[in-house]
Amino acid sequence: MKLFFATLFAKLAYIALRILGRNASHFPGAVALKLCPDFLGRVAKCPMTICVTGTNGKTTVTNMVADFLEQRGKKVGSNRLDSNITEGVACTYVLSVGLFGRPKVDAMVLEVDERASRLILPYIKPDYLVCTNLFRDSIMRNAHPDYIFEVLETYIPDGVFMVLNADDPLSSRLKSGNERMYFSVGRQPSDVEECINRVADNTICPECQTTMKYDYLHYHHLGHYRCPACGYTAPEAAYTALDADVAEGTLVVEHEGEKKTYPLINDALYNIYNEIALIALASKLGYDEDTIISTLKNIGITETRFRELRAGDIDVICCLSKGCNSVACSRNFDNVRMHPGKKAVYLALDDTSYMKNTVEYTGWIWDVDYEFLNDPDIKQIVVTCPRCRDHRLRLLMAGVDPEKIFLAEDELEAADLIDPEGIDKVYLLYDNTLYDRSVKIADRIVRNLTERGRK
């Protein structure tokens, strides 16, 4: 009866919040857990449960996996609304089961926060778990990658099939006793042999602590590693993404020595990782290559994460760049640098959830590769939000010409500082707490550029 009432009241809470036009991705789950603390352990297991965790890419992979299964005709329950902690997962179950806790869906696809995994995974006991990677993240919440590894290692149940990143020396070692499959990204034109990033978290051999060598290194600590002292090396991947052809929109993937061409969902290297993780999982779920290829043609990246707009002759590219997450920001800075054209960059990276009562910690910005923005094709950098002075200082330390740096605390005022003279693209990089405001900022930038273009 406890489960019945918990589900009933949580469903009612959901309906009420929706009627009021409020976000209902968290509270109904909190209601269910309040009334039935072991709610997640009591609801009946779905025919298939897939969890996705890891520092970067888990939202994108979760959405892509859920989209994929829906395209294949499955009824899917998924926490797409981005609440990936216990309440969010409980909320997803509330909406995916009947009043007596019986599943109404064919599959659950759940994004699971790494730290919250201890309160989720032992109860829902997934069939499959994808771990995209482990990097440093918000230091307040996640401390450091070693700690997150310990949490996952302790709380991922035995028997879960693991889909892991072969290129990550840390997460590839998770649950060594569980059955597993690896994905990887092969050598890329942009690869290096020595790390050029400010941070690389897992570069010493886990067996003998010698600094590992890379045959090729994509970024930070992801690449094909080997220990020169004891021979420890990256595990063999079942699926390896090789060449991405942006013009053709294709991605060559190697599996058991054979190469096949898949649609390219997005050309950013981190999104190639997300796509190859999906391909590996889909094959494990029993879908053949042709089915995967035809399904991927209809899958894209969620709009809250990436949008392309146009203002006259200028592209305005809006991209989520999670503040407090140095690697996510570095990836975006690298992408900005690598894309052709003359650019202006607008940075709104503060985590605004801190603004009400406290001051955001900015130590993380000193782990971000602002050096990538010190590029001749980047003509202007506008920094905004309360910590804009810290971002300016970081840019100066990265060697950026002070003449290129513009600063305004107010985000809309900062939007007016974008100078269209001689640029082809504007990159608007925003923290996830600023998504709603990023829409207004983007509108303002587009309006300004269009008006100036007309003049």
Binding site: N357, V359, T362, D390
Partner: protein
């Protein structure tokens, strides 16, 4: 001038690396030495002007202690005779104390150079902003850790807490000072965020002629942050 950064492959958390980079910007002619876990530290066989040690994971603390124990006497001598500046931030401070008590009660013997000892409380994370003072100087800082330290006397404290927390929640003393040895739980851009403390460290290194890099911009960021922390309703995060 020579700055030795110890074990950067594991001692590299929380933006701490930026302090060494900032000193290099202030001292462009300075030689930077990055010593890995498999190398013999430079301080063991030649003079250096500053030894810098950053935050690390708890697992790495044990690895680093294993390495540094071989140089315990050299380090003690350098500190006692004030041969060079040593700056240890975050949980690097704990390595110089008596011991680190793990969550299960096991004690890991540390270098025994300072009187403090650390007690881990994992998985409870302690995060706090702070305002600290040293003489006339006011500093802004941030700490994030799984442990607290105890056994610090007023005479050995590096900072006094104005707002925030000391080396444990029951004290207003923060950090350890022993001659030219400076250790603090403050993590991240300690020097960049505090131009006056950078000036102090440069002077301690014997470089009074060196200028604080980007001082105007650093001071603007410092003033804004100081005002923000003074006004903040919450310091614990």
């Amino acid at each position: 001038m020579k700055i030795e950064v110890l074990y950067p492959e594991v001692c590299c958390l929380y933006g701490d690396k930026s302090n060494a980079d900032y000193l290099k910007k202030c001292l462009p002619e300075c030689e930077m030495v990055y010593t890995s876990l498999t190398d013999e530290p430079r301080f063991a066989f030649e003079p250096v002007d500053l030894i810098y040690l950053c935050s690390m994971s708890e697992r790495s603390q044990e690895l680093v202690l294993e390495r540094l124990k071989n140089y315990k006497n050299v380090l003690r001598l350098l500190i006692d005779e004030q041969k060079c500046v040593i700056l240890a931030v975050g949980n690097a401070m704990e390595l110089f104390g008596q011991y680190i008590q793990k969550e299960d009660g096991e004690k890991i013997e540390a270098l025994g150079i300072t009187d403090t000892y650390a007690v881990r409380q994992k998985p409870d994370r302690f995060n706090s902003l702070g305002i600290l003072s040293m003489g006339d100087m006011t500093l802004v800082g941030y700490t994030t850790r799984f442990s607290h330290s105890y056994g610090l006397s007023k005479e050995d404290a590096l900072f006094k807490v104005v707002r925030g927390s000391g080396i444990n929640p029951d004290t207003d003393l923060e950090g350890v000072r022993k001659g030219r040895f400076f250790a603090t739980y403050t993590v991240g851009p300690l020097l960049i965020s505090n131009p006056d403390f950078t000036r102090f460290i440069l002077d301690e290194m014997g470089a009074p002629e060196a200028t604080v890099a980007f001082e105007k911009e650093a001071r603007e960021a410092y003033e804004k942050r100081l005002a923000g922390i003074r006004a903040a309703k919450e310091l614990l995060q």
